[in-house]
């Protein structure tokens, strides 16, 4: 008989994941028995609140269990909290949009929950195979969600593109894991890190090939250049709340895993730092330059999300505790203001016929002063202006880079931020200073989206003035991890 007592079978470790899965099943069960469209949203809301509470409750409870397959440390729990909060906000901001477009099917909430569960699995393990499992649990619902507007050609195109490229990237990742396993005889990062000098002296080529292929696989998920080509079309074609989810949650999950693999598992492979240096500079520069001349706000935010992946990659190039905590800080901040930006775009697109082109923005400031002010706030935060948390996020990242001697990386990063200000301010300019002959159709607020706007706006400004809480959060998330 196998001794289960030493294996650490503790369902408390995966309580948030179980809560998500049960909620998703309840939604599917109810929706398959009776046709109710609004009800599942409430169940999903309750389930996510419970998940969030369970995740917060796990805080500073460092344990690993299930034969070492699940590692519940503060790093993972921090991401659990981030994912469930993100999911909650996306659920709220998308509700009215889905009704307006006639795609408010109960499956949407269920897919959102299952995808969130996959992300939690990804962030809470040190085993490469479990990471892959989590990645697939995350990705498959995302492919379906991208094509959720079944009657829309663009949405279908987005789903097919995302699926093709995603499956391709998964194959790379799996091959990379196979190489690492071949070289080290294990998929467990803690055992790889213990023997990495021995492994790389004997099987150098394989461990490097494995690391490179794993990098390709996750580079796709976080939309790093040169694996970014799917981003604009998928972001533009998918329903806007889904795009909002794409732009923050899978990115955070991808970075959680990359931080673990490359700064913990493969920390001794020195060439990786140079690789990430180049990737980071490429990603932020290409993202920003391509964003300059976009005529559609969703496409602009797509390229901007590529650029932000580049900023976070600075942490992977720099390495060390400070960089990782800066990356977590930035991911949380980015999630808040990017979701805020998408909430405004979703609100605008809830009106029929709106595709959120630049030409549709004039008149926003005159008719909706609060909404346009909030949009401007999020754009400034994305550009990294001082009173917002966007500035502090970039500041901590680049400060960590300078302290470790990566002066040029920080300089290029700051130059890129200046460049990005141009296109973020184009959005502000279009809504404030341009005029259009067509009257601006008023938007209809709902309590849910107003709540999202208030939470994200208060978060963007409040954390900009009082970052202490978030700073401590990201610092204590790191100590367990290294």
């Amino acid at each position: 008989m196998i001794d289960y007592t030493s294996a650490g079978i503790d369902f408390g470790l995966i309580a948030p994941e179980i809560a998500l899965l049960v909620t998703a099943f309840v939604i599917l069960l109810i929706s398959s028995i009776r046709r109710l469209n609004a009800f599942p949203i409430y169940i999903a809301f309750i389930g996510l609140v419970v998940t969030l509470a369970l995740s917060i409750q796990q805080w500073s409870n460092q344990e690993s269990g299930f034969f070492g397959m699940i590692s519940c440390d503060n790093f993972g729990i921090a991401f659990k909290i981030l994912f469930s909060a993100t999911s909650l906000l996306v659920l709220l901001l998308g509700y009215r949009y889905m009704i307006a477009r006639g795609i408010d099917r109960p499956e949407y909430s269920a897919l959102l929950l299952i995808s969130t569960m996959g992300m939690m699995v990804m962030a809470n393990t040190t085993d490469l195979v479990v990471m892959f499992l989590g990645l697939e649990i995350m990705s498959v619902p995302l492919y379906v969600m991208a094509g959720f507007a079944r009657r829309s050609l663009r949405s279908n195109e987005a789903a097919i593109k995302y699926f093709m490229m995603g499956a391709f990237a998964s194959a790379f990742l799996l091959m990379g894991i196979a190489f690492v396993y071949g070289a080290s005889g294990t998929t467990e990062l803690r055992r790889i890190v213990a023997d990495i000098s021995f492994i790389s002296s004997r099987h150098g080529a394989y461990i490097y090939a494995g690391a490179a292929l794993i990098l390709v696989g996750f580079g796709f998920k976080v939309a790093a250049v040169p694996f970014h080509s799917w981003v604009p079309d998928v972001y533009e074609g998918a329903p806007t709340p889904v795009t909002a989810f794409f732009s923050v949650a899978p990115k955070a999950a991808g970075f959680a895993v990359m931080l673990r693999i490359f700064l913990f598992g493969f920390a001794d492979l020195e060439i990786l730092s140079d690789v990430f240096w180049v990737l980071s500079v490429l990603t932020m520069s290409v993202g920003n330059i391509l964003a300059l001349r976009q005529g559609n706000v969703k496409r602009l935010l797509a390229y901007s999300s590529i650029a932000h992946a580049g900023y976070i990659m600075v942490a992977l190039a720099v390495g060390g505790e400070e960089a990782v905590s800066a990356a977590i800080f930035y991911l949380v901040a980015y999630t808040i203001f990017n979701l805020g930006g998408f909430a405004v775009v979703t609100l605008l697109e809830t009106r029929s016929g709106c595709r959120s082109n630049f030409s549709e923005l004039p008149g926003l400031a005159a008719t909706h002063p609060y909404l346009s002010a909030i949009l401007a706030l999020f754009m400034l935060a994305l550009g990294g202006f001082p009173p917002t948390v966007g500035f502090l996020g970039k500041f901590y990242l680049f400060a960590a880079a300078i302290k470790s001697g990566y002066i040029w990386l920080a300089v290029i990063g700051v130059m890129n931020s200046f460049l990005s200000v141009y296109y973020y301010l184009r959005v502000v300019k279009a809504s404030y200073f341009e005029t259009s002959d067509e009257p601006f159709t008023p938007v209809s607020y709902t309590p849910a989206i107003v709540a999202v706007l208030i939470i994200t706006a208060v978060g963007t400004l409040g954390l900009g003035f009082f970052p202490q809480q978030l700073l401590e959060f990201s610092r204590s998330a790191i100590f367990a991890f290294l």
């Binding site: 008989m1 099943f25 599917l28 069960l29 398959s32 023997d195 021995f198």
Partner: protein, 124 residues
Amino acid sequence: MEGTANSMSEYLSVLIFIFVGIGSVLFTFFLSRLIRPHNPYKEKSIPYECAELPIGDSWFKFNNRFYIFALMFVIFDVEVVFLFPWAVAFGELGLFALVEMIIFILILFFGLFYAWRKGALKWV
């Protein structure tokens, strides 16, 4: 770590096996090309369907309703893949694994129930 660090060269035999496998097929084709008579005529290129003359084109559109059944087949295919190793090691795994497996099958059963309720089992 001498014992656990199994080298990649253990997988060399797999690589050789693949090459030998592909090579033997190619070699047979090459050999038969050398010794066979060469006499093509039109009837030879007709698809063979039990000596009947084929009617119509074989490149027609298949009904895409098949894919739902194919998908559901995959679910139970995968289920069996997991059931076999579990059944083989059942003696050592004990009650805990039995409960785990029941949960796993219940989840799959739920999937079937959902598909059934959504009309995926109906041939419309």
